[in-house]
């Protein structure tokens, strides 16, 4: 289909395989836990050990491809139970952060150190110490793009000068149209940006926060080119599924998901109680602090709307006469289609919240959320010795019954979503959906324990590996939340209070379904076989980067299930894998979780792919246990088509041409969802010949088909030689998925997306270069009625990009 050839020659590249190992760090198996006294002494020496690690890292700058303007700043070091001090360093250049760059140094108990440089960005050679544009100019450019409905003053903004690796330049964004079940182009989050030719540029990271009636809650972050002002990247920092002086107290709650649960609360001087776990968290909650008051502990709040200033907000559950909360039933959705959200108001009518949020029924969600906060916090503390989400004891909070804005209804309850909100360093739990809201009712409620654990784990990932939320690293990010969220549930289900994580009952597949009790009809995700949701992948394939991160997490989730519970040799079993037909024995939750946590916190770089995660988890297994456990890790990855198990032959690999590599205008790093490296833009009503590459076999034949039968009947047929006449109409902004399967090994396949464009801007029934003239005329003229000339439907440079790519794909030469 394209004359462009991929620069990749095989599956996921291994960043770790390129690791530069410096020093004499131990890779030997089974590092034992140190005696408490020795461990205490090492922890006391941690600052000196971190400083030593920093010096060793700086001494290796030349070998790492860095000059003396590069520096490393330690972030959140910790000393693990084996006495290893793990320090993750932020890489800087001329004093400014290098975006997405880091290094990890392991300092072993005996003092040897090992540098893990896979996150280091080498070869930075920028002139001067500052870009041409100032921070205020970058802020203005970002705000112009943000265009808050409530006005520029409504946006809170943080600006940081950074060095930006241009290969991360974003481009066309996609989103999931859940109602139609298809992936579509998302013009709102698309950024017209072709990577600058230089590998690095001075730039500004501009973080914005909107939380008001007109805009709802958004945390859009921009990368603005410091010299040209071009927006190079844009993403929503929200990762979806967002002054009290009291004493600790113990209450109880009637939860929706877990019956009667204990609650850590606080008692005020007036004798009333609040949903604040004062016994967890030693640093103040940063968002509360930014608002001018200090809040320690885990706080559960409810959503509000302030009618005086027209802002959405939240208030903590305080002033409760008793320390018994909730009634175990859910609040009916406080919504009426004729008026929008049903609200209760305070005495002067200046503040509103969802009707019933402060009643016992309304408290039920708060009970689940508050229990989830504390249980997740305890899980990390007890099992991994981690002090909270960031490892520093920073307090966090949750919001239940949140309110958002709808253009149609006005003020509405937020439904069917839960997310970790980095700006707030807190979580948001929406209501369950309802047909009354025009919704199918995906969730009954979003506060089930594994979901709570999932969202808080996003915070842990943010503070450790910092996995970039897209592509394979995004799939790893999501899977990590599923995995450790599920382990939080296992910990609570098993009644654990110590360091060990109990197993789920063998054969209990429901235990491995994310949100099993929270979702109506089907699980949110099934870790044992992710494809049961009809979207998620069970295994790695070339092109998986194009899948939303909530679905590309599938192979990693299944890997983890296999690692913990084993894989079946029975082909009829849900836990059977054709990639490991003989099955395997699992290691149990305890070992599997420790391996994954160590890989996350000590090895993974922010742009890790599945193969890098495989290498990291093998290394972590060797750190903690023996070759036997490491081989189990290899088998579990092999069972999801990532690498081979011991003794397995090299696998056939098949791929489509890479049409939009990193940094191209469509971009291999488009955000927030989907990577479009394999997407091809083609004109309608044109005959093309699809091409694939097959490696590691002499039989290079492939079978091509449409991956979604809903498109197949309309999209025509593909000949045995790959010839396809595109239909005489577009699918608007829908991506048309296609799959190529190897003749030699039908278990190996690749996927790509096609995007059809109607080039006939002048509507003379011919697609030719004259049509581009119409596109040129309507550029920058939003009221021009010539819709046909807007090839991409956007009225800007995307139209030219779509036109020229489709044209050149159809008519030679490029």
């Amino acid at each position: 289909m394209s004359r462009m050839h991929s620069r990749r020659t095989h599956g996921p590249l291994s960043a770790l395989a390129l690791a530069l190992v410096l020093g004499a760090g131990s890779l030997s198996a089974g590092n034992p836990q140190l005696p408490p006294t020795q461990l205490k002494a090492l922890k006391a020496q941690q600052p000196a050990r971190v400083a030593q690690a920093q010096q060793r890292l700086l001494a290796q700058r030349a070998q790492l491809g860095l000059d003396d303007r590069s520096d490393f700043v330690p972030l959140h070091p910790f000393t693990n139970e084996q006495g290893r001090t793990v320090t993750r360093f932020k890489q800087t250049f001329a004093g400014q952060r290098v975006w997405g760059a880091s290094a990890v140094v392991h300092t072993e108990a005996e003092g040897t150190s090992r540098i893990l440089p896979q996150g280091v960005k080498a070869g930075i050679n920028l002139e001067g110490a500052a870009p041409r544009l100032g921070a205020e100019e970058a802020k203005a450019l970002a705000l112009r793009n943000l265009a808050p409905k409530a006005g520029l003053a409504a946006a809170q903004v943080k600006v940081e000068q950074v060095v930006f690796p241009t290969r991360f330049t974003g481009g066309l964004a996609t989103k999931r149209d859940a109602k139609r079940g298809v992936t579509v182009v998302d013009p709102a989050m698309s950024v017209w940006a072709k990577a600058p030719t230089a590998p690095y540029v001075w730039a500004y990271e501009v973080r914005t926060l909107l939380a008001n009636r007109q805009d709802g809650h958004q945390e859009i972050t921009y990368i603005v080119d410091g010299d040209t002002g071009a927006i190079l990247r844009k993403w929503n920092a929200i990762q979806p599924l967002e002054a009290l002086d009291d004493t600790p107290a113990q209450g109880t709650g009637q939860s929706y998901f877990r019956g009667t649960v204990p609650l850590s609360t606080a008692q005020a001087g007036d004798g009333t109680f609040s949903l604040v776990a004062k016994d967890r968290g030693t640093l103040p909650q940063p968002y509360f602090e930014s608002q001018g008051f200090t809040q320690m502990g885990l706080t559960t709040c409810y959503g509000t709307v302030d009618f005086n200033v027209g802002a959405l907000g939240f208030e903590p559950y305080i002033g409760h006469a008793t320390n018994t909360w909730g009634d175990g039933t859910l609040l009916p959705l406080a919504f009426d289609s004729s008026v929008g959200a049903l609200l209760d108001l305070n005495g002067d009518g200046s503040l509103g919240w969802l009707r019933g949020a402060l009643t016992p029924t309304g408290e039920t969600n708060a009970v689940d959320a508050h229990y989830g906060l504390s249980t997740t916090w305890d899980f990390y503390t007890n099992v991994f010795g981690r002090d909270g989400i960031d490892g520093q004891g920073t307090s966090t909070f949750a919001i239940v019954h949140p309110i958002e804005l709808s253009w149609w209804y006005g003020i509405v309850p937020m439904i069917d979503n839960a997310y970790w909100a980095p700006w707030y360093f807190g979580m948001v739990f929406g209501e369950g959906g309802s047909p009354a809201f025009g919704d199918n009712g995906v969730f009954t409620a979003t506060t089930e324990l594994d979901i709570t654990g999932h969202e808080l784990t996003h915070g842990v990932t943010q503070e450790t590996a910092g996995l970039i939320y897209e592509g394979q690293s995004g799939g790893l990010n999501e899977a990590t939340s599923d995995i450790l969220g599920k382990m939080v549930q296992a910990y609570a289900d098993g009644g654990a209070t110590g360091t060990a994580i109990p197993d789920f009952t063998p054969g209990d597949l429901a235990a491995w379904e994310v949100g099993h009790n929270a979702v109506v009809g089907h699980p949110l995700r099934a870790m044992y076989k992710p494809s049961v949701d009809g979207i998620s992948a069970n295994e790695w394939y070339d092109g998986i980067d194009g899948l939303d991160v909530h679905y590309s997490s599938g192979p990693v989730n299944r890997f983890y299930y296999f690692l913990a519970m084993g894989a079946s040799a029975n082909t009829a079993s849900e836990s059977h894998s054709v990639y490991l037909p003989g099955g395997m024995t699992g290691l149990g939750n305890e070992k599997a979780a420790r391996i994954w946590y160590k890989a996350l916190t000590e090895y993974l770089a922010s742009d890790a792919d599945f193969l890098a995660a495989r290498e990291a988890s093998i290394t972590a297994a060797l750190d903690l246990y023996t070759q036997s456990e490491a081989d189990a890790v290899r088998r579990a990855w092999a069972a999801v088509n990532v690498g081979e198990a011991p003794g397995q032959a090299q696998r056939v690999r098949i791929r489509f041409p890479e049409t939009h590599p990193l940094g191209s205008f469509i971009g291999d790093r488009a955000v927030p969802e989907g990577i479009l490296g394999r997407t091809q833009i083609l004109p309608i009503a044109t005959t093309v010949r699809l091409q694939t590459t097959v490696e590691h076999t002499t039989d290079t034949g492939v079978m091509l088909s449409f991956d979604d039968p809903r498109f197949g009947s309309q999209a025509g047929t593909i000949g045995t030689d790959g010839t396809w006449t595109t239909p005489n109409f577009t699918f608007y902004m829908d991506l048309l998925p296609m799959v190529a399967r190897s003749h030699a090994d039908p278990t190996q396949y690749a996927k790509a997306n096609m995007l059809l464009a109607n080039l006939d801007g002048d509507m003379d029934s011919e697609q030719d270069a004259l049509d581009l003239g119409m596109t040129a005329m309507v550029w920058g003229c939003p009221n021009a009625p010539q819709q046909a000339a807007r090839t991409a439907g956007m009225g800007d440079d995307w139209d030219f990009a779509f036109f020229t790519e489709a044209f050149h794909n159809a008519w030679l030469p490029r």
Binding site: M1, Q767, A769, L770, C781, P785
Partner: protein, 211 residues
């Protein structure tokens, strides 16, 4: 890699019969001739839209300038040019089949270093070059068309090399310009719709001779 659809191929063929006066090679020379090794071109007469030989042409590569009538202001031009068997359209450095002659302002005032330009060219089935060069939007004023606006190139097709003495008639199947007046974003939609139209033109083409 790509072919036109039967639908488009048929449409092109009908247009060829309906609008073009040629497109095929003329009768061969009366004497047996050797395969051609070079090309010559005779410019067409007149001062309207025409394809004129560019000084950068070589014996084996004919470069033609698209020139418009002096004093006519335009914002871009596109055309479909059919060449008979024996000739092939040749690319310029960078791989494009059309070269900007520098008259039209191809970048807007957007200061976007990645801004795409409206310049495109490709060969469709039937040896039909479809090419266009345009100014985007209305940031820039219209340009006097009485100069070389863009270039295309022709060479002998080694796969179908003609005999020396063969003459060829090129035919412009369709050509349109963006006129000076393309309205204003503040115009009424009806007015704007009427003004946002390309205008048909005729392009005179000279004679190519293989030697």
């Amino acid at each position: 890699m790509m072919n036109r659809t039967p639908t488009l191929a048929l449409a092109g063929l009908l247009l060829s019969f309906g609008l073009a006066c040629g497109g095929g090679s003329s009768a061969p020379a009366p004497q047996a001739a050797a395969p051609a090794a070079s090309l010559s071109y005779t410019d067409p007469a007149g001062s309207s839209w025409r394809l004129l030989k560019d000084a950068s042409s070589t014996p084996t590569r004919l470069v033609l300038n698209l020139v418009g009538p002096a004093g006519t202001l335009t914002r871009g031009v596109g055309f479909n040019l059919k060449a008979p068997e024996g000739l092939k359209f040749d690319a310029f450095p960078g791989g494009m089949l059309i070269q900007d002659a520098g008259v039209y302002q191809l970048l807007s005032n957007a200061l976007d270093p990645n801004e795409p330009v409206a310049l495109v060219g490709g060969v469709k089935t039937g040896n039909l070059l479809s090419a266009g060069i345009y100014q985007k939007g209305r940031d820039q004023g219209a340009k006097d068309s009485g100069a070389a606006l863009c270039r295309i190139a022709l060479a002998l097709d080694s796969a179908h090399r003609p005999l020396a003495g063969t003459t060829f008639t090129l035919s412009v199947i369709k050509a349109r310009i963006i006129p000076e007046d393309i309205g204003s974003p503040t115009d009424e939609p009806f007015t704007l719709d009427r003004k946002l139209r390309m205008t048909d033109i005729s392009v005179a083409v000279g004679t190519v001779t293989a030697r």
